[in-house]
């Protein structure tokens, strides 16, 4: 009996003009476009220069900044106030003021100051812009220093140079960080929310009740709903893996087996969540709003956009209740670090817990209505 019901679900799924195409194109679109758009590698800052010194050294500093590739010099002003106006006119995001006697002080006293001011209406952009700029100035500083010292003393100066090494994500590429999380979002959509909406849809159209007067048991009915979406979910996940490799040459350092094992566990948990929603909602509208409420919470608490570690402590405590947090963590660790199941016992336990919790809640809420 079960396989007839599953056959029926597949028939309905593929008869839908919209759903199959969406499911196939979603991973490609998401993996191709989202990482390009949601990107913290800020480039193309508009820079306003106030060079009051107009000396060879100040010229060299400006050229150095320009050649870094991060800055476009969009404004050259005579005074700080003029430069500030250009920021107000949104012509530039950040300004660099080189004071009079910059070169003279640098040569004579061995130190000079420059002023960096940035527009921090967009905090991320302003912060990054001034940080990059200071590092360029610091770099320039050490060059000048060694040059001047050599001239005066004729030998190398000992200086401590800090060279950071980024492990696991050497280019600090945000893409690498985002893609595993996007894969999970799609999986949650297909295996958690779609079956929930489908069940509520049957409630709304009355077929749920019609099925209820047949000998079909609830467990068969629900399995027949879930199994097709599980199958589709894993197809979509595989497409996601493929798309990540195709577009970015991005392959997990760890094994695919680990990824599939954890995905199955996550799918169980999120389907259970979907069933709970389908139990309480009697119309699609209610179901969508319930899903929306929880999904937003899950996503923001999951560390998809901002690292969990940067949240205040109470929020970190809440984030422990987002199943997305654990699976995203697992995907990142397996993709970037090559973690094995052995290293991932905590998320394994957490996801198993969620699977048991949501599914028992789903079963209990049926019985309550009995």
């Amino acid at each position: 009996m079960l396989h007839y019901l599953i056959e029926k679900e597949f028939k309905q799924f593929f008869r839908n003009t919209f759903l199959p195409r969406l499911v196939i194109s979603l991973p490609f679109m998401a993996i191709l476009i989202f990482p390009l758009v949601a990107n913290y590698d800020v480039k193309n800052f508009n820079l306003s220069i106030v060079d009051s010194d107009k000396s060879p050294y100040s010229g060299e500093l400006v050229r150095k900044i320009e050649s870094s590739g991060y800055y476009r010099i969009t404004d050259v002003s005579a005074t700080f106030d003029d430069a500030l106006k250009s920021i107000e006119r949104h012509e530039s995001d950040i300004l660099l003021e080189i004071p009079v006697h910059f070169e003279k002080e640098l040569v004579r006293e061995g130190k000079a100051t420059v002023l960096i001011s940035s527009n921090t209406v967009n905090g991320m952009k302003g912060g990054l812009g001034s940080a990059y700029l200071s590092s360029i100035v610091a770099d320039f500083n050490s060059e000048i220093r060694s040059e001047l010292m050599q001239v005066s003393r004729g030998r190398q100066v000992p200086a401590i140079e800090i060279v950071p090494m980024y492990k696991f994500n050497p280019q600090l590429s945000y893409k690498v960080y985002m893609i595993p999380a996007i894969m999970i979002m799609i999986l949650a959509l297909v295996c958690g929310y779609l079956p929930a909406l489908n069940i509520v849809g049957e409630k709304e159209s009355g077929t749920f009740e019609q099925m209820n007067v047949t000998p079909v048991s609830k467990i068969h009915f629900i399995l027949a709903k879930l199994i097709p979406y599980w199958v589709v979910g894993f197809v979509v996940l595989t497409i996601s893996f493929f798309a990540a490799w195709l577009f970015y040459g991005f392959l997990p350092v760890g094994s695919f087996v680990t990824l599939y094992v954890f995905s199955s566990l996550f799918v169980l948990a999120i389907s259970g969540f979907g069933l709970v929603v389908s139990n309480y909602a009697s119309t699609i509208q209610q179901a969508i709003f319930m899903i929306f409420f929880f999904v937003l919470t899950f996503i923001f608490m999951s560390g998809l956009y901002t690292p969990v570690a940067s949240m205040p402590e109470w929020a970190q405590a809440i984030s422990a209740f987002s199943p997305l947090k654990y699976i995203i963590m697992v995907f990142r660790l397996v993709y970037l670090k090559g973690s094995t199941v052995h290293d991932l016992l905590v998320p394994f336990a957490a996801l198993s817990g969620f699977a048991i919790f949501f599914n028992s809640w789903a079963i209990m809420s049926y019985h309550k209505k009995n």
Binding site: M1, Y4, L5, K8, K11, Q12, R15, N16, S205, G206, T207, E209, Q210, M211, N212, V213, T214, P215, V216, S217, K218, I219, Y280, A281, S282, T283, Q286, M290, I363, Y366, H367, K369, N370
Partner: protein
Amino acid sequence: MMASSKLECTERWTFNFNTNMQALHTTSTSDLALSCQSVSKRYVRNSPFEKVNVSALEDISFEVNRGELFGIIGPDGAGKTTLFRILTTLLLADSGVVRVEGFDVVTDFRAIRNEVGYMPGRFSLYQDLTVEENLNVFAKVFNTSIEENYHLIEAIYKQLEPFKKRRAGKLSGGMKQKLALCCALIHKPRVLFLDEPTTGVDPVSRKEFWEMLKRLKAQQITILVSTPYMDEASLCDRIALLLQGRILKIDTPQNIVSQYPHELWSVSSDEMSKLLTDLRNIPAIRSGYSFGESHHITFKNKEWSMDALRAELEKLGHSSIVIKKIEASIEDCFMDLSPESKG
């Protein structure tokens, strides 16, 4: 708990599917297809936004014999659908005992679901599946096939056959109704529940539908049908008149009509709405109801002669007055039995 728009507080589902079928079959030996004893159902909701306390059914008792065509007649809101949902194991009654084919609706609901066919008032088939696929799904979930019971639905399905590749959602209203009946019949149920099958169906299709029911009855299928149309009552073997959750009377349509206790006149004139008010204002008139082209009236103890009434109405300014003595219809009986007429 999320607020749900409907008052479905007792939706039935279960994970337990080990019913002992053999033990239960021995109990169904009587000639009763269905017995319903003092069933009551009350909808209660006590949320800050909505206070509901409606008695949908009160102390409903009736019995249906094997092979009978039993009608439940009542206006909208009488409790017909609630009663059907209790009989088909979809809803739990607050009190009372219901047995369908000897099975208790509470403890043996799984056995009942194998034995009954239910056609709800609202079209509830898969709109995105074709006619044939819908029928197949419902055959398969009952572990049977279309071929096995084709003889039952043949007459109806023949009319659907040209559209068998069409999606159910694209069928006309009458065709949908026929398909729903086919799907309810495909597993050869012993009892068929039809909840307002003819509501919203054109008069020709309604007539056809009742013809089909007669043919099914000949196949020894017990049929319970609910309808708000009084004219369909006479097509049933026995009927129960249901009003505001109570049964007013259960009998054959002929008996109900013949037991009508009053002399009934139909009156019409050129000013029908004024006529009704005038008639109701005459102290000797017991009841007056509008029945389309005429008003039906009954008198209190002492009856007037037709001439006296005519004279009275002429005095009130009516012309072209027609007064006839008529036989009571089911609707007259219904009006007579309803509590308002007694109050």
